[in-house]
């Protein structure tokens, strides 16, 4: 059994919270005391049934306003898979929260209100999903009960969505007609839409393949910590501890250390209480090398035959996340895995109107804006273009004055 992390994009109006509530409810993931707390709450649907949306509300302000402000994580499992839902807000003023949720997701559910079809918000959500390079998209056309479960309405929306999506780099798009409120095609097959013969949402989530191409990605290992016990019996022990960001490392592989460029060979891959012949993507291990090199936290080990891009002038897409606008005159910090170095954002090439996908010439990027920038870093970064290997292509910008994370970068190319 593995884990699928997925994101839900949409607003309360689209029934997003109801959809998540429905998934939890219909998979028996709501426990008795949580259910009791919901029943005791004043919020009910018009017909007096329990408002499942309450299951996803977290903070006081959210309950008061009936909206999602922050990313909330929800967990459930079936016999086939474990699921982690990143429930993110849909309003434009929370774009940064959606970007955050999308950064760790394998799949996105985009909700469309069947009565409204593809709207500005749909374009925005789809753009963000493509920007963050999620592999799978599920378009849930919700509130089918409000359009008499019409196949015609569903097909029309499908056509207009695909037309819009042709401007984006989205990989695999699946359309499912649902009614989250009534439970149609979420966990159980709808009797109201016999014309729909595809999988219901849960079955799709249970069976979609997420790890297929991981072994094809270039092998990358950011060093987090050097283990050196320096005891009498482990006098010469020196292990590089970290998590494989992408690809696979094997014993005897030749690796290059970045940024120094020195080469060595893997002699041992260690885990607590044992050794492995290979370390796959996502594994936390300790790597030993043939040569006694000067390697520390922030360095990157890469398989020598697939070199990363090494640069200190980099073009990148950025999502700005701070109320203070981006300032091209000051120094920021950039963090790429465990590597932190100073940087300047030297140029704003353009901003994207994420509701229309138009590129706009500008010198200003503010909260929730997305654009293309050029960065100059103090130390060189060893990265892969985000669209090819997002596990080694994302970085964050930190404002050294406040220590806050102010930007998310999708690194594209050396300049």
């Amino acid at each position: 059994m593995d884990i699928l992390k997925f994101l839900t994009a949409g607003s309360v109006d689209d029934g997003k919270s109801t959809l998540i509530g429905r998934l939890l409810y219909d998979t028996n993931s709501v426990l008795a005391d949580q259910m009791e707390a919901i029943k005791n709450s004043n919020r009910k649907n018009d017909d007096g049934t329990v408002d499942l949306a309450i299951l996803t509300d977290g903070l006081k302000a959210e309950r008061e306003q009936g909206i999602t402000i922050d990313v909330a994580y929800k967990y459930f499992q079936t016999d086939k898979r474990k699921f982690i839902i990143a429930d993110t807000p849909g309003h434009i003023q929370y774009t940064r929260n959606m970007v955050t949720g999308a950064s760790n997701a394998d799949l996105a559910i985009i909700l469309i209100d069947a009565r409204k079809g593809v709207i500005e918000q749909t374009i925005r959500h789809s753009y963000l999903v493509s920007l963050l390079a999620l592999k799978h998209v599920v378009v849930c056309v919700n509130k089918m009960d409000m359009v008499d479960f019409s196949q015609y309405v569903f097909e029309e929306i499908k056509v207009s969505y695909l037309k819009m999506a042709s401007q984006l780099k989205l990989n695999e798009i699946t359309f499912i007609p649902v009614s989250a409120l009534r439970g149609d095609n979420i966990v159980n097959t709808s009797l109201n839409m016999p014309w729909y013969t595809g999988k219901v949402l849960l079955e799709h989530l249970e069976t979609v393949e997420v790890a297929e191409n991981n072994q094809m990605l270039p092998a990358r290992f950011p060093v987090q910590w050097v283990i050196r016990p320096q005891t009498d019996e482990l006098h010469d022990y020196r292990g590089y501890a970290g998590r494989v960001a992408s690809g696979t490392f094997k014993v005897n592989d030749e690796v290059t250390v970045y940024p120094s460029g020195t080469k060595s060979q893997i002699t041992k891959i260690e885990v607590f209480g044992g050794e492995l012949s290979e370390a796959v993507q996502g594994a936390s291990v300790t790597i030993h090398l043939q040569d006694n090199l000067d390697i520390s936290r922030g360095d990157l080990l890469a398989l020598s035959k697939t070199a990363p891009t090494v640069a200190n002038r980099i073009e990148a897409d950025i999502c700005w996340m701070d109320t203070k606008p981006l300032d091209t005159s000051i120094m920021y910090l950039i963090q790429h895995h465990s590597k932190v170095t100073k940087c300047k954002i030297t140029d704003i090439l353009y901003k994207v109107n994420i509701n229309t996908l138009e590129k706009i010439n500008t010198h200003d990027l503010g909260l929730n804006d997305i654009g293309r920038v050029e960065i100059k870093t103090a130390d060189e970064l060893a990265f892969d273009p985000y669209e090819l290997n997002k596990n080694n292509g994302g970085a964050i910008i930190i404002d050294g004055r406040t220590n806050v994370t102010v930007g998310a970068l999708m690194l594209r190319a050396g300049v």
Binding site: L31, L59, D70, R96, T100, P229, A283, I396
Partner: protein
């Protein structure tokens, strides 16, 4: 990778980030199953080296004796440093005031002692075993959760947390609470304990105990509960699903004495784990308010 391997690898990576990013981290150890799991994960992250942090236990003085002896044995067997912050010391110093009355608990006073302990030792990061599935305020908390000088959590000022990149930069006086098993569920923890054959305090397994029935739940009949003749005291087969202060940790009736049975019981259970904690029941926003005040 199997899901337990995925969760384990993520937690190990988070622990190594703590080691790499902070000067004086600490692992908050309650003696409960979640923090015992953290100790195993720390072994996986740092052996054959030593832990780059001590274990820190905030002791209300009303802990289960079984937990305390387990704590001491564990610290000794792994050869790591244990620091104990006593709520009694805070009470003696007048910084914490003991509650009065029948439902008095030292649970809330832990916040005072934890902040005093953080200040005394200058800890800049405190690793905790909280999980997002426990409660809806926790569901929104970051893995690296920055606290101000007063230990307060501000849900509106949380840093965006992208990919597996954790920003632990702080100003002097601030500290970060780090939750490596954020993405685990209660069942995941139990399945991991089983797989790793991790030893637990005996109170997690069914045993005969004198209990008092209060507020609809069975509580251990301990001195700290101020039992009088009006109380309904009986001896029952019980076990505990969480291990906190005796005044706020309820028992569930159970015959289950081994881990397989417990896993089965939990997966079929109709009461969530924190449902057995009285401290969350005060109001719908109880956990959120306590977090803002500096509690875990």
């Amino acid at each position: 990778m199997d899901y337990l391997d995925q969760l384990e690898a993520e937690a190990i990576a988070i622990l190594r980030e703590v080691a790499g990013q902070f000067e004086k981290p600490a692992l908050l150890f309650s003696g409960g199953k979640d923090s015992i799991t953290l100790v195993r994960l720390a072994e996986k992250a740092f052996r054959p080296g030593k832990f780059p942090f001590p274990l820190v236990h905030i002791d209300t003085g009303h802990n289960f004796p079984e937990t305390i002896s387990f704590r001491d044995q564990l610290a000794e067997s792994i050869g790591e440093k244990l620091i104990i912050g006593l709520v009694q010391d805070s009470i003696n110093n007048g910084t914490a005031v003991e509650q009065k009355g029948k439902n008095a608990s030292r649970n809330a006073l832990q916040t005072v002692t934890i902040l005093e302990t953080i200040e005394k030792y200058g800890f800049d990061a405190c690793i905790g075993g909280a999980r997002r599935d426990e409660e809806k305020a926790r569901a929104k908390e970051r893995i690296f959760s920055v606290r101000d000088e007063f230990g307060q959590w501000d849900p509106k000022r949380q840093r965006p947390e992208l990919w597996n990149t954790f920003n632990g930069k702080i100003h002097k006086g601030e500290n970060v609470r780090v939750f490596p098993i954020s993405n685990w569920t209660e069942l995941d923890v139990w399945n991991y304990i089983k797989r790793e054959k991790i030893a637990l305090p005996s109170i997690y397994f069914a045993h005969q105990r004198e209990v008092v029935f209060r507020n609809g739940q069975y509580m251990a009949a301990a001195d700290a509960l101020q039992i009088d003749e009006d109380d309904d005291v009986s001896t029952r087969m019980v076990r505990f699903r969480t291990v906190g202060d005796m005044t706020c940790t309820a028992a569930v009736e159970s015959e289950k004495t081994d881990i397989d049975d417990i896993i089965l019981e939990i997966s079929q259970s109709k009461i969530s784990e924190r449902g057995a904690r009285l401290d969350d029941k005060v109001s719908e926003a109880a956990m959120e308010d306590r977090k803002k005040g500096g509690y875990f």
